[in-house]
């Protein structure tokens, strides 16, 4: 038996009854485009189980740790049996969770929209940062401007900055066919070091404190309105509504507009799209720009909503754009999926933070690593979707040839 004979479906499409024998790219596309919630839920469960083993290895109790993380997320505020004594703390925690969810929804959309057009946008981080820089600049300039126009200008400039940044990768893809994975990764580094220069010591946008590499604070009028909680204690800003509107726009454009129809056609079968009279290159450029718009808006929401300034240290450790990839993958590139997976990751970020986690149960210094581990596991399990599907179909012989032969030898 040759190695090649283990792929009964052949290499060229035609998914067999078992869906085997496809390329990994085709499998990933099928996974992220297929409907259903079972596989993503199972993916999450498996990630938490594996994370539980990690907790066990550190000598802690996984159940009480997860309970503490859950309480740290503030999601217990939603449970009717939470006592009124616990409610104020839970409300504060939930506000933190939702503040984290806002940019994750937007960077998740930045990745999901690209996926729907057959592009892999790894550049969410760079686009998010470019948006943050623009928001900080616009927010700290125009000091006397009225509140509403100031916020609108800062947010719009941030989104456009993200769109232009991503548009570079889109333009390269559309004109010379440069692989967007490579170009967006490179643009991430460029954006990080650009920020280190802009806000670093002696940089053109460094603030008035001479020895601190941080920007000026944005003007009070450029800050987003806080509608839940105390603005002085990082209450929840209206960015959550911006993110939800973005989800709706994403769904409507994708499913109800001729542009969205083109994007989906190009994503599923570029050759058929061309045959239908569409310009594949134009769609690549447009889609990358829209992705950057979403990511840039995410940067604006963080700056105008609760950070108010940016330090080179923030730039170097920020992961929001990268987390967007996990959000989109787990959310299967759908609007509703992106919402829930952004909420999950937002909850994990805030639930394991030093501020929210009960230190007697799990040391907060270790806990944020736990988030990273679970995030990594989710990405791993999503990429290794075959594993999940194999478990789902264990009775139905997903990889009959290989498995049986191995058991024989």
């Amino acid at each position: 038996m040759s190695v090649a004979e283990t792929a009964p479906g052949g290499a060229l499409g035609e998914p067999g009854p078992e869906g085997g024998g496809q390329t990994s790219a085709a499998r990933l596309a099928a996974y992220v485009q297929g409907g259903g919630v079972v596989v993503p839920l199972l993916t999450v469960v498996m990630a938490f189980l594996a994370g539980g083993i990690v907790i066990l290895l550190t000598g802690h109790n996984p159940l009480s740790t997860y309970k503490a993380i859950f309480d740290g997320t503030g999601l217990n505020w939603l449970l009717p049996w939470t006592s009124s004594a616990d409610r104020p703390a839970a409300a504060l925690n939930l506000q933190q969770t939702l503040i984290q969810t806002v940019p994750l929804i937007l960077t998740g959309l930045a990745v999901a929209f690209a996926f729907r057009c057959g592009l892999f946008n790894i550049g969410g981080q760079g686009q998010y940062l470019m948006g943050s820089y623009a928001a900080v600049w616009a927010g700290s300039s125009f000091a006397g401007m009225a509140h509403v126009p100031h916020v609108l200008i800062a947010a719009l400039l941030a989104a456009v900055a993200g769109a232009l940044w991503a548009g570079i990768a889109g333009l390269l893809k559309a004109t010379v066919g440069a692989n967007e994975v490579i170009s967006t990764i490179m643009l991430n580094y460029t954006a990080i070091y650009l920020g280190d220069y802009l806000f670093g010591l002696g940089g053109p946008l460094q603030g008035n404190q001479p020895s601190v590499p941080v920007s000026n604070d944005i003007a009070g009028g450029a800050k987003l309105h806080v509608f839940w909680g105390d603005p002085e204690l990082q209450g929840l800003h209206i960015g959550i509504f911006v993110a939800i509107v973005a989800l709706v726009v994403f769904w409507v454009v994708l499913n109800r507009s001729t542009t969205g129809y083109e994007v989906r056609a190009v994503g599923l079968n570029p050759e058929a799209a061309r045959y239908g009279g569409m310009s594949v290159a134009r769609n690549y450029l447009l889609v990358m720009a829209v992705c950057g718009f979403f990511a840039g808006l995410a940067g604006a929401m963080d700056i105008l909503g609760w950070q108010f300034r940016i330090a080179t240290n923030d730039i170097d450790i920020s992961q929001i754009g990268f987390l967007g990839i996990a959000v989109a993958l787990l959310g299967r590139n759908t609007a509703i999926g992106t919402f829930f997976s952004a909420l999950l990751f937002g909850a994990l970020l805030s639930g394991t933070s030093q501020r929210n986690l009960d230190p007697t149960i799990f040391e907060p210094e270790l806990a944020s690593n736990l988030t990273t581990i679970i995030q990594g596991l989710v990405v791993l399990f999503v990429s290794a979707d075959v594993l999940v599907i194999a478990i789902l179909r264990s009775g139905r012989r997903l990889v009959p040839v290989r498995r049986r032969r191995e058991s024989e030898t």
Partner: protein, 506 residues
């Protein structure tokens, strides 16, 4: 004497679908036994059971009279069953000999691959059955026909007594098919038992001794090919009388609507593919471009439909020069295109039927306003086209991937005809379809011709060309080398298609 192979009452279900329903099949040493049936009739499932890829829910398999359980391909090979799949399973960068001995390599004293032993064994087998394969050739440099022979050798190398070939001729030219048949006859005369899976009636009559016909998972009958006709087999296969010959009204040729003048087009590697083609299609006629695959016909079609840029020359539609127009402009000018490959180009398989039917005109007022789609109108139109073109197995919201090949093709044809074109370019419109679907496509093309459209048919099947076309243009190395009437013989066409006779005076 016991049969080489006997299947009794084989039943296999996938969920609620019964792929095989109590199928009996027997195979004698020294015979070619064809397994005939439409797509989805259960041929491949039956053979997958035989090869240990699926286990039957019911039924019994006997090899040389002994009941056996085949639970893996390894077991099938041990029992002397060899399979040549439709998609070859060869490693392109390895040589023929290396591929053949893979996983069963002769080893020299040090445990290393004994290259010489491998090569000589391959050579010996190859010579014995007239396979003419060079053991040292690298797979990626060999032709499809040679690769298929390597697959056969792979089975023979493992001492296969029973050889299963799954639609082996689908990828071959007419000449290669004849070569394959010569090899199969040599194997048969040597006492091998051969299962030949196909839905091509002529080939089955040519090569097989007996035929078992499957329809919807059930065995309909097993008959000797002696005394059988294409019509009788088609009736068994489809379950009703099938018109294999197309009835056509006399030609009513009208004004010219598509004129191609001295067209030059390059292929993907930037080499000249179309080198000075002139052709004219009149309203009310079917003009066929016939030729062996890879002689520029694909590039010619792509240029005419706006998918490929033109080097020089002119494309004139209804008197207006459209040279260099893109896909959308060509479509507006009145050219529809049934694409050569419905999976790669003609359809977005993960789109619903309704979305696929909108692929060419989603921007028109009929389906959208100011950039917003009207799903309701898309579904309503899909519903009426599904009815008109008899697309079965799907609602407007069903993904195209869930349809059978024939129904997928009906979707493509429905969309292209619904655009009400002046010229319908049909590239291999029946590729991979079964007899019933072919009949539908042929009838529809003739209907459109009679309605006054001009039809440019590109086909690799000379039988299809002869039965449909009013004029046959033979293309060879990017040039039209001859024009023939539909009653030209297979030989005449074959000679021209292989460059045997150039048209005098250009």
């Amino acid at each position: 004497m016991d049969a080489a192979l006997e299947l009794r009452g084989i039943t296999k279900r996938f969920g609620r679908i019964v792929a095989n329903d109590g199928v009996d099949f027997d195979l004698q040493a020294g015979e070619v036994h064809a397994l005939l049936g439409e797509n989805g009739a259960g041929k491949s499932t039956l053979m997958s059971i035989l090869y240990g890829l699926y286990r039957p829910d019911e039924g019994e398999i006997r090899v040389e009279g002994e009941p056996v359980t085949i639970d893996s391909p390894r077991r099938a090979i041990d029992l002397g069953i060899g399979m040549v799949h439709q998609h070859f399973m060869l490693i392109p960068v390895m040589t023929v000999a290396e591929n053949i001995v893979l996983a069963d390599e002769p080893r020299s004293a040090g445990g290393l691959l004994d290259v010489d032993a491998a090569r000589s064994r391959v050579k010996e087998l190859s010579d014995r059955f007239g396979l003419a394969v060079d053991p040292d050739a690298v797979i990626e440099d060999t032709s499809v026909g040679q690769q298929q022979r390597v697959e056969i050798l792979k089975a023979l190398y493992r001492d296969a007594q029973i050889l299963v070939l799954d639609e082996p001729t689908a990828v071959l030219t007419a000449q290669e098919t004849q070569d394959l048949f010569r090899v199969l006859r040599a194997l048969r005369d040597d006492g091998k038992a051969i299962v030949f899976i196909s839905h091509k009636l002529g080939e089955v009559l040519d090569i097989a001794d007996r035929v078992t016909v499957l329809r919807r998972g059930k065995r309909v009958d097993t008959v000797a090919t002696e005394g059988a006709t294409e019509e009788s087999l088609a009736r068994l296969m489809v379950g009703r009388d099938v018109l294999l010959r197309v009835d056509k009204a006399p030609l009513q040729r009208r004004e010219p609507i598509l004129e191609v003048r001295d067209l030059h087009v390059r292929d993907d590697r930037d080499l000249p593919a179309v080198q000075g083609v002139d052709l004219t299609v009149h309203a009310g006629e079917i003009v066929a471009v016939a030729g062996v695959d890879g002689n520029g016909q694909t590039e010619l079609i792509e240029a005419i439909t706006g998918l490929r840029s033109v080097d020089s020359g002119a494309i004139v539609v209804e008197g207006r020069d459209r040279t260099g127009a893109g896909v959308r402009d060509m479509a507006t000018a009145g050219i529809s295109h049934i694409a050569e490959d419905r999976h790669r180009r003609g359809l977005v398989l993960n789109f619903s039927i309704a979305e696929n039917l909108a692929l060419r005109d989603y921007r028109t007022r009929e389906l959208s306003r100011h950039g917003w789609l009207s799903p309701r109108k898309m579904v309503a139109r899909a519903r009426s086209l599904i009815r008109e073109f008899d697309v079965r197995g799907g609602e407007p919201q069903t993904p195209a991937a869930a349809l059978s090949g024939g129904n997928q093709q009906k979707c493509v044809i429905a969309r292209e005809i619904a655009a009400n074109p002046r010229v319908l370019v049909a590239a291999q419109p029946t590729r991979g379809l079964d007899v019933g679907a072919i009949e539908f496509v042929h009838r529809r093309l003739v209907t459109e011709r009679d309605a006054g459209r001009g039809i440019l048919l590109m086909s690799l099947e000379s039988e299809e060309v002869r039965s449909l076309a009013d004029r046959i243009l033979v293309i060879y190395e990017g040039r039209i080398v001859g024009e023939f009437p539909p009653d030209a013989t297979e030989e005449e066409l074959g000679i021209a298609m292989t460059g045997g006779r150039r048209r005098e005076a250009a």
